[in-house]
């Protein structure tokens, strides 16, 4: 550090007195005036030397605690991040922020973070230098590429983002077809249904300017969905700020926050909300009350009518368990209140009939005239005008290897509409183990169905590399090399929000504190690796650092010369971008003309396990806050009740009293048995649960992942069937039957 200048300013502000200061060397100062001597009273913080005593600064950035990527402001005092707030300027969250967003501080300051690269030697992870770690990996990768590039397996737990794209780029330049992506909240079925209906393979956004009802089809609307913060704002504004109070109508089997908040809760059988949507379509078509402009032009209407004829209110009532009259009444109400936001999300799509459910919801939106309508409804998610990276030139080695069949069987029957399939991987790995696996934001040894299978599979791979900043189960049990990432408060990165807002937003993340440990941003590690691998891979990574790569794309926003930041020079644009934390279009995207196609199908949800032995449907859910377990190391999130009526720090099985074994009281231990495993956990007798169901939150039962995560509850993933959805290959949470016994 430039001693004299920084000390001058610091001391002046610290009230030591300006007279003392000029030309002072640190060793001449009394100990209490030495900035590094702060450690005498408080722990020393990296980066604190740039701050004056008591000085605070605010940085705008974007959240990375879920895919929503809300805008945040971080308060940093003397180099310590002490507060995360919502950024009021960001059009996505307008200053609001969720429990997860604020707990980002605990992700940063997790006491059990990995301090630097680790290598497994003799079964133990021991620290090594970055140079040794990278040369070890580069050597292994060079060897694999020389033999058979398809022997590299890359798993990314992300669905979007520049680092994710860099990893995909590395896989492609390297020549491996085995790049497997997809987070647990796999949006593949919804994207697939959107592609069939309107030709755009992406989850929809939701416009709401004049909508006066939200119809949630089993959506985890205000609870686990990454759009929950957006919808909390939208629902509040639609209820209180518009002339006509909007209604929230929720159809779902359990009393979750969506049901709690709903003006009307329709309790139906799990996995049947698609049938309900088709039942409503039946009434609308029968009565001729539908949006003729869109529907009469649409393709596939005849087939759709033929399908919907079968969904009379009576048959729909049989399928869903709702009274027939309620279905007719619902159809009338939705027509009366159009435009309506008909919402499906990851929770609605956790059943085997995910694509059918999504298709039915989109068809209902079409009948209600709520597609690409300026007043409200489904919108095509607008893309920010980011500049593309240069095309990769692929050499002959890579070209040949890229044509080898994928390990996971994606893109081929029976997963023809998939981009990646996670659940088939363990068996495929065991049959033909790849040589090297790179895991980015992936902890399959804990977070995927039947984690034990994953452990066996990954153990068969000679070199497993994890980029996790935490000692998660995958790191603790199977990783051979750990290249710990910065947390999102320590790195430069893009933060493109998951679809939701009908306005193009490109968020950015910036370091707000100096890195706490000897960690490196994974994007930089990828580029460094590519450089070490030399031509031709290095040619696809011509940037010196990840930041250069990112800025190249952001300059597309500059070139568009519109939106919240318009500057003459690229430098000035980037400076303002870092300052603002995001770029956004000034207004919502204007409605586009769409060609609508009905692609009608219907299938009831499929359940693994014979009904006679396993009579109850298992409904794992991502609880408020700590989701599929990635927030389990953050005690603030642990302190939230995962369902209304449950205690904090508790993983319990919610079950209707008449479904529980006789004599079981609230809090008594239950044994929940599926065809794949058994767990013992407390019962939560909930008289509002649908009959024939057991609901258990995900995120419990960590055996590693730090002091806050370990040994709290049980891991429901051990019970699950690992059969992916046909066609889309999505991982499904709700496909397993169980029985319960007193433990």
């Amino acid at each position: 550090m430039g001693d004299d200048h920084t000390i001058t300013r610091r001391l002046a502000l610290a009230g030591i007195g300006a007279a003392l200061v000029p030309a002072c060397k640190r060793e001449w100062l009394p100990p209490e005036a030495d900035p590094t001597s702060r450690s005498q009273i408080k722990p020393y913080v990296p980066g604190a030397e740039d701050y004056a005593t008591y000085e605070e600064r605010w940085f705008a950035s974007s959240c990375a605690q879920c895919a929503a990527a809300c805008g945040i402001r971080v308060r940093v005092v003397e180099g310590r991040a002490v507060r995360i707030e919502g950024n009021p300027a960001n059009p996505l969250n307008r200053g609001g922020i969720g429990a997860r967003g604020m707990s980002g501080l605990q992700a940063l300051y997790d006491p059990d973070r990995i301090a630097g690269p680790l290598l497994r030697i003799g079964g133990r992870l021991v620290p090594i230098s970055w140079d040794d770690a990278l040369s070890t990996l580069a050597k292994a990768l060079a060897d694999v590429r020389g033999r058979a590039p398809e022997q590299l397996l890359v798993i990314s737990g992300r669905e979007r983002g520049f680092t994710h794209e860099l990893l995909a780029r590395l896989a492609r330049a390297f020549g491996t077809p085995n790049f497997v992506d997809g987070s647990p909240g796999h949006t593949a079925p919804l994207a697939h249904a959107m592609e069939q209906a309107v030709g755009v393979r992406e989850a929809p956004a939701y416009g709401w300017s004049h909508a006066s009802a939200i119809f949630s089809l089993e959506a985890g609307l205000l609870e686990d969905s990454c759009r929950s913060i957006y919808f909390a704002r939208v629902a509040a504004a639609m209820r209180r700020d518009s002339a006509r109070r909007a209604r929230l109508i929720h159809a779902g089997p359990v009393f979750d926050l969506a049901a709690y908040n709903a003006d009307r809760w329709l309790q139906l059988r799990p996995g049947t909300s698609g049938a309900l949507a088709l039942g409503v379509c039946h009434v609308l078509l029968r009565e001729g009350t539908y949006d003729r402009g869109l529907v009469d032009r649409a393709r596939g209407l005849t087939e759709f009518r033929a399908l919907v004829v079968g969904f009379t209110p009576e048959r729909t009532a049989e399928l869903t368990g709702l009274p027939a009259a309620a279905i007719v009444e619902l159809a009338h109400e939705l027509w009366d209140r159009r435009p309506v936001l008909a919402v499906v999300d990851e929770r609605s799509l956790a059943f085997s009939n995910a694509v059918e459910t999504a298709g039915a919801a989109i068809a209902l939106s079409a009948l209600l005239g709520a597609i690409e309508n300026g007043d409200g409804g489904l919108r095509l998610a607008p893309e920010p005008p980011l500049a593309p990276w240069p095309e990769i030139v692929i050499d002959e080695v890579a070209r040949r290897a890229l044509e080898t069949p994928r390990l996971d069987g994606a893109t081929r029957a029976p997963y023809g509409a998939s981009r990646a399939v996670l659940d088939t991987l363990p068996a495929a790995i065991l049959a033909r183990p790849p040589s090297v696996a790179l895991l980015y934001h992936a902890n399959p040894v804990y977070a995927r169905a039947q984690p034990r299978r994953w452990r066996e599979a990954l153990e068969a791979i000679p070199l497993v590399v994890s980029f996790s900043p935490y000692v998660d189960e995958t790191v603790a049990e199977v990783a051979d090399l750990v290249l710990p990432d910065h947390t999102y408060l320590e790195r430069v990165e893009d933060a493109t929000p998951a679809p939701g807002l009908p306005r193009a937003v490109a968020g950015i993340r910036r370091p707000v504190v100096a890195p706490l440990h000897d960690t490196r941003a994974t994007a930089d590690v990828i580029i460094e690796l590519a450089h070490r691998l030399g031509k031709p891979i290095a040619r696809a990574f011509s940037w010196p650092t990840a930041r250069d790569a990112f800025e190249q794309r952001w300059l597309g926003l500059h070139a568009a010369a519109r939106g919240t930041i318009v500057e003459a020079s690229p430098r000035a644009f980037l400076e303002r971008l870092y300052e603002a934390g995001f770029w956004a279009d000034v207004d919502d995207a204007s409605p586009r003309a769409v060609e609508f196609t009905f692609s009608p199908t219907w299938a009831p949800p499929h359940w693994d396990g014979e009904p006679a032995r396993f009579p109850l449907a298992l409904l794992p859910y991502r609880p408020l806050g700590y989701a599929e377990g990635s927030g389990a190391n953050q005690p603030w999130l642990r302190s939230l009740r995962s369902r209304p009526g449950l205690a904090d720090w508790t993983v319990a099985a919610s079950i209707a009293p008449h479904d529980a074994p006789p004599g079981i009281k609230d809090g008594d231990l239950l044994r929940v048995i599926s065809p794949y495993g058994a767990l013992v956990l407390p019962a939560h007798l909930d008289r509002r649960m649908a009959s024939g169901c057991v609901a258990i939150p995900t995120g419990g039962g960590h055996t590693a992942f730090g002091r806050w995560a370990r040994n709290v509850g049980v891991n429901v993933m051990e019970l699950l069937s690992a059969t992916p959805a046909s066609d889309t290959g999505a991982s499904l949470l709700c496909t397993t039957r169980v029985r319960v016994e007193a433990a």
Partner: protein, 275 residues
């Protein structure tokens, strides 16, 4: 004058711009320097009745308020020990209320301290550790508390928590503590302060500019209100008829909890409007 009275008056002495505010950037320092030395003391501190309105029709029970409060006020998590379930300090948390009628809906209420105008907790404190601030905030002086927990028994809203353990912050977690709020040791009672330190800071900043805080600045001032994605929480001066909080509190949907006890809470709820 009783010691207690003296102590309260001491706390109520009009604030001078603190050293903290002084250090906050050169612009602020410049503004302070421009003021006559007596100016800050001469600005009469307007009496306020701080209050809060929580709109249950906006609230979706997302719990952001509770986490914002933990973050702002350095509330410890202790450890994952099951015996601590229900015994961890909570200043702002969701109260789950089962309905009295069988088929009615339950209610989830975000519950901060009610900051009663006539607080039962203050009456029972034997050491004056809890007192009524002249602007309506029920304050707690951690250093004075002897941990008798009479106040916890007296509070009809259960909005006080006892520190059953020494907060076990690791060296790493110590870094994220808010420097504006003191941490509490083992054996004292703690509670919501309406983010008094944020109110104080805003007043100091306004005083440097020679004015009072505006209603717009106050509405989302406490950490819970700032975080709320649904804008369900509004803060402000209940005595100022023009303030948003006063307008909302006089609306037809407004009610207070256990009003029949005569505690006169400063927290109003707006009831759900099941359309």
């Amino acid at each position: 004058m009783s010691i207690r009275r003296w102590f309260i008056e001491l706390l109520d002495t009009p604030t001078t711009p603190s050293r903290r505010a002084f250090l906050r950037g050169s612009a602020a320092v410049g503004a302070a320097a421009a003021l006559p030395s007596t100016a800050s003391a001469a600005i009469p501190k307007r009496r306020r009745h701080w209050g809060m309105v929580i709109d249950l029709d906006r609230c979706s029970a997302c719990n952001a308020c509770g986490v914002a409060c933990r973050q702002e006020n350095n509330i410890p998590s202790y450890d994952s020990d099951p015996e601590m379930h229900g015994a961890r300090p909570e200043w702002m948390s969701m109260l789950w209320q089962e309905p009295e009628r069988a088929n009615a809906n339950p209610e989830l209420l975000p519950m901060p301290c009610m900051h009663c105008a006539d607080p039962p907790c203050v009456k029972v404190c034997p050491v004056g550790a809890t007192y009524k601030d002249p602007d309506g905030i029920t304050m707690q002086v951690w250093d004075r508390c002897i941990g008798c927990r009479y106040c916890m028994v007296a509070c009809p809203y259960s909005r006080r928590s006892f520190n059953w353990k020494e907060p076990a912050w690791s060296k790493s977690e110590l870094q994220m503590l808010n420097p504006d709020v003191a941490t509490r040791p083992l054996g004292v009672v703690e509670k919501c302060t309406f983010c008094h330190h944020r109110v104080q800071r805003l007043r100091e900043e306004a005083a440097l500019a020679g004015r009072e805080p505006t209603d717009a600045e106050l509405q989302r001032l406490p950490a819970c209100a700032a975080a709320c994605p649904a804008n369900a929480i509004t803060f402000g001066d209940l005595d100022d008829d023009e303030s948003e909080v006063a307008k909302l509190a006089s609306g037809t949907r407004a009610f207070r909890l256990l009003e029949h006890l005569g505690t006169e809470p400063s927290v109003y709820y707006l009831k759900k409007d099941r359309g």
